[in-house]
Structure formats: C-alpha cells, structure tokens
C-alpha cells in the first residue's frame, strides 16, 4: 500500500526552487537563506539538525501551584484524548504541561483579545463575551470539576472511575454546571481544544512528546517540501520532523 520516499535533500530543494541557479542574486531571499543552511556564497553547508528522538520532559509548573489541580487537569485531558491501541493519550503526550505553559503566557492572559467592557452575555452568534481570561476560566473550571466530583461521588475528581469522570465532563459539555462569568460549555470547549492543541502542536511547546501525536495521525510535521512526491498516487509514509530539530 505505501512506499517510503527517498530522503529529500536540501540540495534537491535548492534545485527545484531555482535559488541555486541564480535567482539568489538580487532577490530578497539572502537573509532568509541563512535559516536554510546556505552560506554567503550560495553553497550548501552541512546540516546541523539532530535526529535525536529523545525528549527532555521539564516537568515543572509555570502556571499551576499545586499537584492536585494539575492532576484534575491531567485526568480530564486524558478522558478527552485517552491512551488506546493506536498510541499514547494526553498525559503521556505531555498535554497537561503544554496547557500549564500556555496558561502562564499570552494565551492565558488573553493579550491579543479585546477585553474592554462593558460586558454583556449577548447572542450565541456574537461569540465569546466573558470578562474572564483563559487562566481564570481554567482555575475556576478545575475547581468546579472537583466540586462536582465531591457532590456526585464524595471523592476528588482524580479518584473517580473513568466513567464517572466522563459523566461529569458530559455535564460540563451540556452546560449543566453553573459557573461564574462563563458557561461550563465554554470551559469544556476550551479544555477540549487545548487538549488537541497539546496533542498535535510542535513538541517544542511541551506536548506531542516524541511526536507521537503526529505519528498516530501519520502527519510528517515540519517538512521542507513535498514537491518530489506530490504527484504520487500512493500514500506516502514519511518520518516526522519537528521545528526543534527532532
């Protein structure tokens, strides 16, 4: 069914773009070519990229402060994207650490979003209208997951059976859990989306460890070019590459 393409070299790339055949002179690309390992004379230099598939884990917290809240998040993401016979789930992929780092940065503080008042609920067609940042929504949402677990099962969320976790997450998804300044359905959507972002973003963000998210999906990540295989009839299995040089 599948065939493995021969390794696509940087020399092939230079050939097909026309860069090596004179287009370089006078073009605006010279600065950009530094990133493609071409020196000032237009000669190809050795590829310094590493093929080491090991991944440092760096498991500190940038946003969370206690293990209990982090575990609630971890277990919730694992139910959304569970480990199965295809491969790892959210926890093994590092998704909770991905989310921790995102909440500590501009994602968590909504720095690129219009956050000026007055705030109103609005119609569904008018989109996100909360005064809360994503960081606040996650904090509150995690507290509510705990609260709901205690209410329904007299246990913390992380001590529940998988089906019990699913029951609670479904209640959030169906907007059945009262929250302040945001709906539980919105928190659930945010959690679901962030889980997929952590599973499938470049490993440099802390998730998608060992590129296993990509490997399950057969997405080859950061490839320079497909020009030599784009016309193939058959499906191409290609070893993934990350921007960090994995």
């Amino acid at each position: 069914m599948t065939e493995k393409p021969k390794n696509y070299s940087r020399r092939d790339f230079l050939k097909t773009t026309g860069i090596a055949t004179g287009a370089l002179i006078g073009g605006g690309l010279i600065g950009g070519l530094v990133g493609l390992n071409v020196d000032k004379t237009g000669q190809q230099v050795s590829d310094t990229g590493t093929t080491n598939h090991g991944m440092p884990t760096n498991e500190g917290f940038q946003f969370f402060q206690n293990q209990r809240e982090f575990d609630v998040l971890s277990n919730a993401t694992e139910r959304i994207f569970p480990k199965d016979d295809l491969g790892p789930g959210a926890i093994e992929l590092g998704v909770p650490y991905f989310i921790d780092r995102q909440l500590a940065g501009q994602y968590g503080s909504n720095t690129k979003e219009y956050m000026q008042g007055p705030f109103a609920v609005g119609a569904k067609t008018q989109g996100y209208q909360s005064r809360l940042t994503r960081a606040s929504i996650f904090r509150q949402g995690i507290a509510k997951l705990e609260e709901e677990a205690n209410k329904r099962f007299e246990k913390g969320f992380s001590s529940l059976e998988a089906q019990q976790m699913d029951e609670i997450l479904t209640a959030f998804q169906n907007d059945e859990i009262p929250m302040t300044g945001v709906t539980s359905a919105f928190f659930f959507r945010l959690l679901r989306t962030a889980t997929l972002e952590g599973a499938y973003s470049d490993p440099m963000y802390g998730g998608n460890r060992n590129m296993d998210g990509w490997k399950m999906k057969e997405f080859p990540g950061h490839q320079m070019a497909y020009i030599n295989v784009i016309e193939k009839e058959k499906f191409q299995k290609i070893e993934p590459k990350s921007l960090g040089g994995m």
Binding site: M1, T2, F13, T16, T17, G18, G26, G27, G28, L29, G31, G32, V34, G35, R79, F81, P82, D84, L86, N110, T111, K112, E113, Y114, M115, Q116, P118, A120, A123, K124, T125, Q126, G127, Y128, D166, L169, Q173, R192, T195, L196, E197, Y200, S201, D202, Y205, K217, E218, F219, H222, Q223, Y226, I227, V229, I230, E231, K232, E233, F235, Q236, L243
Partner: protein, 570 residues
Amino acid sequence: MATTLPKIDVVIVGLGWTGGIIAAECAKAGLKVIGLERGRKRGTEDYQKIHDEYRYAVRYELMQDVAKETITIRNNRKMPALPMRQMSSFLLGEGLGGSGTHWNGHTWRFYPYDFQIKTMTDEKYGPNKLSSDYLLQDWGVTYDELEPYFYKYDQTAGISGEDKNPFWGKRAQDFPTPPMKKTAILKKFEGATKSLGYSPFMLPSANLSEPYTNPDGAVLNACQYCGFCERFGCEYGAKTSPEVTVIPTAIKTGNFEARFHANVVEVIKSGNKVTGVKYLDTQSGEEFIQEAEVVVLASYVMNNAKLLMVSNIGEQYDPETGKGTLGKNYCYQILPGATGYFEEQMNTFMGAGALGMSIDDYNADNFDHSDLDFIHGGSISITQTGYRPIETNPIQRGTPTWGAEFKKNSIYNYTRTLSIGAQGASMPHKENYLSLDSKYKDVYGLPLLQMTYNFTDQDRALHKYITKVTQNIMKEMGAKTVEGKEVITDYDIVGYQTTHNTGGTIMGASPENSVVNPYLQHWDAENLFVVGAGNFPHNGGYNPTGTVAALAYKSAEGIIKYSKTGGSLV
C-alpha cells in the same frame, strides 16, 4: 499637539496588496510616496520557522491585534452590538503585506456578469427577480475595461494557471506561468466532474509553478507544496505577496518611504479636498500630521470604512431611509460544500494554498436561474492545501466529539477525508451595512466599527442548491459516505468562514449610489482615493484578491493622471 510634516505627493494608509500596488506604480511614475503601516516590517527572513500550526494558524501570529482594535457585531438592528473579542469568522491582517502575506493565492477575475449584474439580471429575468430589499447595482466599470489591469496583476504576481474555463471573461494573454502540479486528489475531482459533464480546470494560483521574474524585476521562486500556506508567510518567496513584489519595486525607485508603527486616526478634510492624515506613532505615542497632495486609503475593508466615518467624509448609509452611501452593501461570502469519507489513504497533509481544480458551471449566470429563487452562484473547487493535525479532525455526524471513539475516528479519517467547497456570491441587502459603534472604543479612543449582518433568503437558497451539486460530485469521486454542509440560518461570528469581506465604500457611476467613482476617487474629495474589496457593490463567486488588485492598478493610473491634471477623473 501633532507635529506637521512636510507635504508629500502621495500618502498611503496601509501596506498590503492595494497600498503596495499603488506605492509601486506612483513611485515608478516619479511621485514621492509615503506608506503608513500600523504593523511591523516583515519579510521572507521572518518565515523560515513558519511550519508551526499552533503559533500561526491557531494563535494568529501574523494577524491583527484585536486587543487594540476590533469591530462590534449584531445580526440585525434590534440587537445590541457586542465586540468581536477574538478573531474567528475572518482573519484581519496587520504588518507589511497585510492579509496578502497570509492569503492562499487563489487569483480570479470576477465575471463580466458581476460588473453589470443589475443590467444583465434585469435583462434576462426581469426587474423583480430579487425583491427591492436587495440593493443590486452595476459597478460603473466593465470586464473589458478592466481586462488590461487584470493582466497587469497576473504579470506582477506571475500567476500560474491554464485558460481552460469555457465560461470566464476573455483573456487577451495566457497566464504568465503554467498551472501547478496535478495530484491524485485533484484527478479524482477532475474525473468526477468530467463524467458529470462539467468543465474542470486548474485553479489560478499565486503559489508559483516555476521560478519567475516579473516585469519590475522582482524574483519569485517555485512552490514546494509544503502544506503551510494560508495563515502563514512563505519561507521560499514562492507565494506572491506584497513584501516580495510591489514593496521592493517601490523601494527600488528611491521615491518611496515606508513608516511602520504608524496608526492613522483621521483623514483631514477641507472643502472638497483632503489635506493629509493624522497618525500616531504607536511606539513613541507622538502624533503627526502628514500632509499630502493625494491621500490613499488602502487598509482593509473595515478600517477604510471606519476612517471615512470618523473623519466625517461622505454620508453614512441609513437603512431606515435608504439615504447615504458610506457603509452600504456590506457583503460576505456563502460557503456551500460537501465532505467525503473514503476508505483509501491519501496524501492530505501535502499541498499548497492554491493547489486545486475548479468548475464554473454553477458560477455567475453560467446556468439558468429562471426556475430558481436566487441569482448568481459560485466557483466549486477541490483544494489540497495541506491538512494540519490540530485543526483537522474529521468525524462523521453523530460521532462523539471527544473520548476514545473521537480519537479513533479523527485519526482514521485524517488521511481519508476530502472536501469540496464553493465560493458562493453574496448579494447586498438593505439591512446589511457598516456604521460606527456608539459604545465601544479602540485603544486610541475612536469608536469601533459596527457590523450589522445576517444571511438572507437569497444566501440560504444559493447555499442549499450548490451544496447538492457538491454532494453529487463527491459521490461521483467515490466517497463511501458524503455529508453536505448543514443549511445556513443566522450568521455566526464564531468559527472560521472566510476573509472575503466586501462593501461599505462601494464604487459606481454616480455619487447617488456609491462612495467612489470607477477610479476609486472619492465623490466628495477629489484627491482622496479609497481602494480595496470595500469597493465591491456585491461579492462575486470567487476569492476577491485578483479583482481587488485590478481595481488598484486602475486607481493607480487615475492617481498619476490626477497628479498632473487635478479635478474629477470622470
């Protein structure tokens, strides 16, 4: 107190495609030009680490910072408008190149029918085909008049394509470069549409099929089909963008200066002329007045309209009375389509923004509408842009959206799903318009632009009809399961749809029903030109950039002429 700067020949607000084209043409003609861009300088060297879906496609790295300025939205006049707090439905550009940096490169010429839509619809179907609530009007320019300007853009951009569409307007010259590569996925579409009796052809593309040097000496490289195109900049300089074509051309003349972090807040008007613009240096906080013989507004649809509104230039459109032209005929695009689930794996992750095949059998007035309750239609295409894993998780209706079953299905379908989509035309309606918001302000203290917009019965009928056509094609392509897009109800600002917003500063043959004349010269201020998709009196069945660029070339010619003779160009 603003500092007044020495008068220049031409000042341009915004350095995307339209600002870049006008800067290049005016500077080549010897005019001294200053371009004010509120974003930052950027170019190919900034795109070398661009294969990052999370940063660029999900978190919108290259797009407008809506913390500073956004719009407000409501579906109708009775609703309170609320701010679009995060981008989703459409993605506004910012920085050198504007949205011309992160476009896909689909490059079309609107149909002869589009430019004379009122006349031709009335002639063929009588004057009451659509109710009088639809504000159909001719553009004041014909396809034949625009043809040389279309070609000029084709040459600047090096467009790759083939003149094999039997329906579109006559091309005096063939495409500058041959079409892109035909992939297995495209061939499925080609075979199916041919067997259904349609006429497929390669989509005209600004991702170049081969290296190309344009008439101004700008060099473009060949597309590598890397699968990171729309929402990204091109690391190879192979996707035609302003920062690799018209901007370097303008700079080369020695007559052009680009100023960054310069946010224009007002166009200054005196009598029947404008004297310049007031802008804020967003880094120092200083205010400047740049005086100019000619002012060109070349920012996006939204901001061009807003600048005229906050500067009190022209009469605001009022849906109650029908009076006024500014803000009128805001249109969007209607997106019928179908998804097919296949059994065999396909190379869905490879591609390029404008790698595709299309049919136009259901675009414009290429099919008979006598028994239909809508006019116009849309181009129907399959594109292989490169599925990326965060945002492409195809599941059939009824599949859970999370958990074990979701994971299994979304992974299985990722390389086994194709979509066909149409760029459905959008007709102007008296209740769809742009105005100023009375409550919400931007970071500079100016009111936000307010959008009042909903889908119409015409839109819903077109969507339903074309969706069925796309479902049939997908079945013919061999999909095991085919799902048509769900019927559209109300416009929802959540979920990406298209960045093909049009109208608000429309062109026309008369000041009675338009903001600018066919040279995009303002009817109320002869040295003010307003350029962009805001000029469209309705939106056609294609992506807009090719038509926007042709209008910009015509306007540039007008500006150069005006600089010599003065007065109205019509």
